[in-house]
């Protein structure tokens, strides 16, 4: 800051904004560099995954059971297991989570129990997933007697997902301006009709985005299903009381098997799992931005 090489500027008052503009330039450059670095990292990760994994992907890999002591064949039981889990988590976590979010945002009056509930939900989001695994084992496998089963795994993963869905629902509902509620009320809508005809349709994209985000988190978790029913090898489950394979766990065991290394299965599994989740996320993001474009409050 010697000032020797400062460019001449024409000023009209005592104020000279060169200092402020320099700060602005630094902030802009810094944030841009960080963003580009992050994006490069993510793209590199995806590209690497793709390059390593794409060779393994073929019809047999997607549709066959593991063969040759887990060094060949396919991963269909793990894919099916993960699809089972997504369905179960949706069935448990979405209705309960969305209903709780609606209650917190639209119905509950501020009170002590409601504040406690909010804190509890915030804390639920901070509990490590392996602790959920332990809790799920104690509560669902043992206490409720579901044993090692898809049901126990689904319920445990639903607990992991619940705070995400609740928070997303509550946030999406809070985004909707109060004027909308007043408009409906002044037209003679009951609370329920206001909710059903004005609030929920508008908030739906936000709610679903949160829900899908939560679901894909759950679908990628290993720790919560570790004790509650995930199997090293099992046929495709035909009902929810059976144990099952699942993609993240399959990836974990294949990557940590010292004796029978099969890297093509590891990378293939990783690509299938990531691909499944990215495609869902991209689809929901596209749908949402199409809906959002019209909503400029």
């Amino acid at each position: 800051m010697s000032g020797s090489k400062r460019k001449e500027v024409i000023t009209f008052s005592d104020y000279d904004s060169r200092g402020a503009r320099r700060v602005e330039a630094i902030v802009r450059t810094f944030t841009m560099i960080v963003t580009i670095a992050m994006m490069t990292l993510v793209l590199f990760l995806l590209a690497y995954l793709f390059v390593r994994g794409v060779g393994s992907i073929n019809w047999q890999f997607l549709s066959d059971i593991p063969r040759d002591r887990m060094t060949g064949g396919g991963i269909w039981p793990a894919i099916a297991g993960t699809l089972w889990l997504i369905a179960l988590v949706s069935a448990f976590a979405l209705p309960i989570g969305i209903a709780t979010g609606i209650y917190l945002a639209e119905i509950a009056k501020p009170s002590r129990p409601v504040r406690v509930l909010r804190v509890a939900i915030a804390n639920m989001a901070g509990v490590p997933s392996v602790v959920y695994g332990l809790f799920g084992f104690a509560a669902f496998s043992l206490a409720l007697g579901f044993g090692k089963s898809l049901l126990a795994m689904g319920l445990t993963l639903a607990c992991v997902t619940l705070p995400v869905v609740i928070t997303a629902t509550e946030e999406a509902l809070k985004q909707i301006p109060n004027e909308q509620r007043q408009a409906a009320m002044a037209l003679g809508c009951t609370r329920a009709r206001t909710l059903g005809k004005v609030i929920l349709p508008t908030a739906l994209p936000g709610i679903l985005t949160g829900a899908i985000l939560g679901l894909s988190r759950a679908a990628g978790e290993t720790a919560p299903i570790l004790f509650t029913g995930v199997a090293f090898f099992a046929p495709v489950a035909t009902d929810v009381m059976q144990p099952s394979m699942a993609l993240p766990y399959h990836l974990y065991i294949m990557a940590t098997q010292p004796t029978t290394p099969a890297p093509h299965i590891v990378w293939g599994t990783a690509l299938v799992l990531t691909g499944m989740l990215s495609i869902t996320n991209a689809a929901i993001a596209t749908w949402r931005s199409a809906k959002r474009r019209k909503l400029q409050w």
């Binding site: 009056k109 301006p177 004027e179 909308q180 509620r181 007043q182 408009a183 409906a184 009320m185 002044a186 037209l187 003679g188 809508c189 009951t190 009709r193 005809k197 004005v198 508008t202 019209k294 909503l295 400029q296």
Partner: protein, 272 residues
Amino acid sequence: MVTSPAKTDLPSKKDRAGRFVLEDVSVSYGNEKALEAVSFYIEPHKVTAMIGPSGCGKSTLLRCLNRMNDAIDNVKVGGKIMLNDKDIYQKAVDPVSLRMYVGQVFQRPNPFPLSIYDNVAFGPRTQGIRKKAELDQIVEDSLKKAAIFDEVKKSLKKHAFELSGGQQQRLCIARALATKPGVLLMDEPCSALDPISTGMIEETVQQLKESMTVVMVTHNMQQAARVSDTTVFLLRESMEEPAGLVEVAETSTLFTAPRDKRTENYITGRFG
């Protein structure tokens, strides 16, 4: 402070315009009393303007008339508000049915994120009207009454958010009219609008009083003078005490020969 006798006939089936009698109305938010001892009549087929500096309780009083206050925590309304000889704060009153009869237009345009048509049809659909032809007719009539039909008749399917602010506000008026109210409450409906839109809305208000009663809050005295038949002047004289009613009079009288010194000070711009 009551200025006219209560001997108006009740609205018949055909004439739906409502009549309010306010007796000693007071409103508090929690422990703070916002408004006290307000008594006056709102006559049918008249435009009643409520004026006063901001914070004097105009919106608060307006929200009492269709019980929109019910949605605010800790509000207490005292005194008596009679609409067509029925106390609207009685236990047995159905507030939803009340709001179908007493419509409201808000300060900022607040259309729903729906098409123009669906915005106007919203109220009638809530009332259970399903027939397409009937809805079409109501939508057209309401848009015409709100002086926006010609601008939007070719694009009823267009999203309401694509309209300008002034058009959106007229759409909101049409939406309120579609439930066929007997009273229309308007809370500073032009404060966010340009002069041309304001002029259109003022003209609309003049025509609406043929079929209903209009109560309009405005902070703009010229507007009150232009559109209203009766003017109500509210004032909060200090932060320690609640606001109250200073004067109710025929608009031309209130603006030319105010009885109260405070009214005179206000309309001549000496405070507020």
